[in-house]
């Protein structure tokens, strides 16, 4: 198996886009291609990550569409759909092509244009990933699953709403330094939790989760350029190795999980990624986690092995996950403030980490970042892709 490198990364500003879907995908692709300075080296394959194109934007076969828009024929191409983990899955597919010797350069682009439809439609679209007979018919939405999970987690480990608020406050602060983030707005503990007005400021979405515990609905695209060692060696930029990717699934219906508080798929996928990377959680200098709901940043950080189970919220309280802390989590602002265009997120996490490892994350740079970790959480934790990146010294 050949090693795979990331040699370019780019993204659009997440938020609300006026552009058609493929234009959005093309914008981040071009940004990544420029970043890579490939010169005459051709792109052999294009992989697009997207969840809602067919339903929301009435456009399918996005891999082919993007190849055409970028004039990259006859490159191989397809779209990958793995719910909210589409991004990391698409990266995995691209890496496999290079590792197997079937490609030397692969463009991976995640794109989503969710705001083409109203909030009700967007909520229902995301809810379509739940189990149709055992969950969806009951009015289950993704926030509902998160609410069920949160109450149980709080009861078992003593996590309180204030810990969730700390995660939101941190991620909003981080996003202020990220020009690509959807939301540029700081929030305070008083405003979202402790003041009497907080019941209006931060209304319940799926109790005990409030509006500020849930990521926004965003449009956006993010791209990375994967390359073989031979191609990467000829480029001037610092080399970022895809050190390990792991993936695991769990039961579809949340109630059928062996332990409904255990993010088993995160645990297994992370363990596999670390093993392939020859690394341990303690080696990680910076992480991008999938905080579609604030509770998930806490729970994932435990399942991935960064904190003992039931202890991450105390680390959050001690400030350990801030930009200046022992393990900065979500320097980009996370899904909460950077935004969550579903198909783009998994790729955007890696874009941020590539910039961090290359020392290009101006304004929010984690010092001496050498090894990084990302967790892309599909379904409600029933399909997780974990990735470890490592900067290689020349």
């Amino acid at each position: 198996m050949r090693p795979v490198y990331i040699v370019g990364a780019g993204m659009t500003r997440f938020g609300r886009s006026e552009w058609p879907l493929v234009d959005l995908a093309a914008a981040s692709s071009v940004a990544a291609l420029h970043h890579a300075h490939l010169g005459k080296v051709p792109v052999d394959a294009v992989v697009v990550a997207n969840m809602g194109g067919g339903r929301i934007n009435r456009q399918t076969a996005l891999g082919s569409a993007l190849v055409d828009r970028l004039s990259l024929w006859p490159a191989a191409a397809e779209s990958v759909e793995n719910g909210p983990a589409s991004g990391a899955s698409a990266v995995k597919v691209g890496c496999q092509a290079i590792a197997a010797g079937m490609a030397n350069v692969v463009l991976v682009t995640g794109v989503e244009m969710m705001r083409a439809v109203d909030g009700l439609e967007a909520t229902d679209f995301v809810a379509s990933l739940s189990h149709p007979e055992a969950e969806y018919i009951y009015g289950v939405t993704l926030p509902a699953l998160a609410g069920l999970f949160t109450r149980l987690y709080m009861s078992k480990y003593g996590v309180e709403r204030k810990h969730l608020a700390m995660v939101a406050i941190k991620n909003h602060d981080n996003a202020m330094k990220n020009p690509y983030a959807h939301i540029h707005q700081t929030v305070t503990m008083e405003g979202i939790l402790t003041a009497p007005e907080s019941v209006v400021n931060n209304p319940l979405v799926a109790d005990p989760l409030g509006m500020f515990d849930c990521c926004p609905v965003s449009d956006g695209a993010a791209s990375i350029i994967l390359a073989s060692a031979e191609v990467a060696q000829k480029l001037a930029a610092p080399r970022v190795l895809v050190a390990g990717i792991g993936q695991a699934t769990d039961t579809h219906a949340v109630h059928e999980r062996q332990d409904p508080t255990d993010l088993k798929a995160v645990r297994l996928a992370s363990a596999a990624a670390f093993e392939r990377a020859g690394a341990k959680p303690a080696d990680i200098d910076v992480a991008e986690l999938h905080d579609a709901f604030t509770i998930l940043e806490i729970a994932e950080s435990e399942a991935a092995g960064f904190f003992p189970i039931g202890h991450a919220h105390k680390a959050v309280e001690r400030g350990e996950t801030k930009l200046t802390g022992k393990l900065p989590i979500n320097p980009s602002g996370g899904l909460k403030a950077k935004g969550h265009p579903v198909g783009a997120t998994g790729v955007a996490q890696l874009v941020e980490l590539v910039w961090q490892l290359r020392g290009e994350a101006t304004g929010r740079q984690v010092s001496k970042a050498k090894t990084a970790y990302a967790c892309n959480f599909g379904g409600f934790g029933n399909n997780v892709v974990a990735t470890v990146l490592r900067k290689e010294e020349r």
Binding site: T12, F14, S17, G119, T188, G191, E197, V200, N201, G220
Partner: protein, 231 residues
Amino acid sequence: MGSVTDLEALLRPPAMDMPPYPPKAITLASGEEMVVRQVGREEIPTLLKAIYPLLLVERDYYDIVAARLYSELLAFQRFRVRDEYVLVGLIDGVLAGLVNGRLVDGKVGMSYHTMTIRRGLRVGSHLFAAKMEYHIEHIGQEEVLIVAESPIGFRRWMIEYPLEKKYEVQHELGGVPSWVLTRKTYFDAKPRLVSGRRPVHDNLLAGAATVRLPGEDSVKRQVLGEKGGKE
């Protein structure tokens, strides 16, 4: 303004005694303080300037709300609508949003519009609730008739309060049948939907004495939200 001539008096509606809206302060999610207060006719020109750029913003029904609100504000200023009021939300004196409505009679209010300039902080929710608070608690009315241009926004109010159908009454905005917020529903919903502190601290109130405009570029940018794919 000179004295009211007989002719002008013909065109001015009689005015009910409307107790003034007591200002309140609200801590927003950002930690900023928003002062909610009533505006007088002399402040209308400033509000018109703020709304003007939104007349052409099609997204999220801003154009139609801006167009109708503009005419309502002008009519209020020039004494051509009966018993209208306007409330604004100000953050550091800068306009964050505005609401208006009028009194049909002592018992019934007619809600007109809600416009949010500073988005992402539930300013619209706070101001709509302030309007209901004014009608029910301070003026002492029994019910408020409500409709909206935005179907999604309206559905949220319909369900949130909740509102009841009062289809036998035509609403002044476009002639669609009204929904109504009753006194009882208001008080049941109050703990969840109405907030703010009175009296407003002297300094804070002084800072909200004059309505300051966000720049035109800023109004459009705030209303349209982030630029998304455009750099």
